[in-house]
C-alpha cells in the first residue's frame, strides 16, 4: 500500500502530486499489479484534502489504464510502469550524456546547463498544457453553444 504525502510549497496542484506519486511508485516497483490504493476516505482523513482531489487523481490514473476501480471494494493497480520505461532509460541516458558533453564543449557550466534544462522543460510543458487548455475551452464553448441552442 502506498502512503501519499503533500508538498504545499511545490506549486504542483494536489491532484497532480497524487498522480505523480502513484506513477513514481509504479516505476520504482513499490506498487505492483493487484495492489490496492488507499481508499478516498483514508487519503482524505490523512492529508486533510478535498475528496474530489483524490477522486480526480484516481480517475486520471484509471483513464491512463494504470488502475481500475472495483465498486464497493476499492481501486487496484492493473499495470506496472517499471518494465516499459526502464527499457527506454538506457538509450535516452546515452543521448543525454552526448548532449551534456556537447553543452560543456560549448562552454556551459553546471548552473547554465541546469537553467537551460529547467527553462526548456518548463516551456515545453507549458506549451503542452496550453494546447490542452485551448482544446478544453473550445469544448466548453461548444457545450455552451449547444446549451444556448437547446
Amino acid at each position: 500500500m502506498i502512503e501519499f504525502h503533500l508538498d504545499a510549497g511545490s506549486g504542483v496542484s494536489p491532484y497532480l502530486q497524487l498522480v505523480r506519486q502513484v506513477r513514481q511508485a509504479l516505476r520504482l516497483g513499490l506498487l505492483r499489479e493487484g495492489d490496492q490504493l488507499p481508499t478516498v476516505k483514508d487519503v482524505v482523513a490523512k492529508l486533510a484534502i478535498n475528496p474530489n482531489t483524490v477522486l480526480k487523481a484516481y480517475r486520471e490514473l484509471e483513464h491512463d489504464g494504470l488502475v481500475a476501480a472495483r465498486p464497493g471494494v476499492g481501486t487496484f493497480v492493473t499495470r506496472t510502469l517499471a518494465d516499459a520505461t526502464l527499457a527506454a532509460h538506457g538509450p535516452l541516458r546515452a543521448q543525454l550524456r552526448r548532449w551534456l558533453a556537447k553543452a560543456r564543449r560549448a562552454g556551459l557550466d553546471e548552473e547554465s546547463i541546469e537553467a537551460l534544462m529547467t527553462t526548456t522543460f518548463r516551456s515545453t510543458a507549458a506549451e503542452h498544457a496550453a494546447g490542452q487548455d485551448h482544446a478544453g475551452q473550445d469544448h466548453a464553448a461548444q457545450v455552451h453553444a449547444a446549451k444556448d441552442i437547446a
Partner: protein, 297 residues
C-alpha cells in the same frame, strides 16, 4: 444539479453602509468553497445571509435551491458553525449532544457519540473546561451530526493550533467524502483552503473580486516576466492585475482565458496564495467595476 449557492445582485446594508453589495455567485452543489478577504469585507455577512440569520436588503440568494430561513426543511438541510466555535460554556459535552438531538429532526446520535469518543472528550466535562481545539471539534460534531446537506463555517480554524487545525480539517474532509456534504467556509489561511477547497470566492470591500473553480482560476492566472513593456500593449484578452517594472524588466500578473504565446515572456504559474494576494493588494481605483458601482451608490 441544484446549486449549493446562487446569488443575484445580493446586498446587505446596515444603516448607510453596504456590508455586501451586488454579489452574484453560482457555486455547484457538492463543492467545498473557501471564502477569503480582508476583515470587514463582508464574509460573515454573506455566510449569515446563506444560513438565514440575516435577510438581504437587495437581490436574492438561494442555498441548495431553497431560500435561507424559509422554514424547518431548509434549516435541517443547512448547518452553521458561527465564528469562534459557539458552544454553551456551562453545558456539558453530553448536554450539547442532548440539545442537538432535541433540536434537529435528522440528528445522527451514533455519529455524534462515535466522534466524541474518538476525540477523547469526556461527556461530563463542561464546554468551558475544553481547549479551543476541543470546543471547535464539539461545534463541528454538532454541525455534522445534524446531517445537513451543506455546512457553513465562519472561520472555523482561526483560533486553533496547527495540530488541532489539521485534525479539524481531516474530520471535515472525511465528512465530505463520506456523506457528500457541501461546505462553505471562510478562512484567512489560504494554504488550508488550497488543500481542502475546490472553489474560491474572494470578497474585497463588500464585493466579489473573483470567484470560481480553483483549478480553473490557477490555470487562467499567470505571472509574466520579460523585457520592460507597457501593460497597455498586451492583447485585449489579457487582463492585468498588477504590474511592476524595473529599468529593463516588467513583471505582470495577468488573468486570461487564452494561452500566452508571446515568446518574450517567461510565464510562471501562480499558487493560490499569490493569486489571492494579487487581488487583495490591488488599489481599488484600478478596478473599473468597483468605481462604477461606487458611483451608482
Amino acid at each position: 444539479m441544484t446549486a449549493l449557492l446562487r446569488a443575484r445582485g445580493l446586498g446587505k446594508r446596515y444603516r448607510r453602509r453596504w456590508a455586501l453589495s451586488d454579489c452574484t455567485l453560482d457555486v455547484p452543489a457538492g463543492s467545498v468553497v473557501g471564502l477569503v478577504g480582508p476583515n470587514a469585507a463582508g464574509k460573515s455577512t454573506l455566510l449569515n445571509l446563506a444560513v438565514g440569520t440575516l435577510t438581504p436588503t437587495a437581490g436574492e440568494i438561494e442555498v441548495l435551491g431553497g431560500r435561507p430561513g424559509s422554514g424547518a426543511a431548509q434549516l435541517a438541510r443547512v448547518g452553521f458553525v458561527a465564528q469562534a466555535s459557539p458552544v454553551y460554556p456551562r453545558l456539558s459535552v453530553a448536554d450539547h449532544l442532548r440539545l442537538g438531538a432535541r433540536l434537529n429532526p435528522g440528528w445522527d446520535d451514533a455519529l455524534a457519540r462515535d466522534r466524541i469518543r474518538r476525540l477523547g472528550l469526556d461527556a461530563n466535562s463542561r464546554a468551558s473546561a475544553l481547549s479551543g481545539g476541543q470546543r471547535a471539534q464539539l461545534a463541528l460534531t454538532l454541525g455534522l451530526a445534524k446531517r445537513p446537506a451543506a455546512l457553513v463555517l465562519d472561520e472555523p480554524v482561526a483560533s486553533l493550533d496547527p495540530l488541532a487545525r489539521r485534525a479539524f480539517l481531516q474530520d471535515l474532509m472525511e465528512a465530505v467524502a463520506e456523506h457528500g456534504l457541501s461546505v462553505l467556509m471562510s478562512s484567512h489561511l489560504i494554504s488550508d483552503l488550497e488543500r481542502t477547497c475546490d472553489h474560491l470566492v474572494v470578497l474585497i470591500g463588500a464585493q466579489v473580486a473573483v470567484a470560481g473553480d480553483i483549478e480553473h482560476l490557477l490555470a487562467t492566472h499567470h505571472r509574466l516576466s520579460g523585457p520592460r513593456r507597457d501593460p497597455a500593449t498586451l492583447p485585449a484578452n489579457q487582463h492585468v492585475l498588477s504590474a511592476s517594472h524595473t529599468e529593463r524588466q516588467s513583471t505582470l500578473l495577468v488573468r486570461t482565458e487564452q494561452p500566452i504565446h508571446d515568446p518574450s515572456w517567461t510565464v510562471t504559474p501562480l499558487n493560490l496564495e499569490d493569486l489571492v494576494l494579487a487581488y487583495l493588494s490591488r488599489p481599488p481605483a484600478e478596478d473599473g467595476s468597483r468605481r462604477v458601482l461606487a458611483a451608482v451608490r
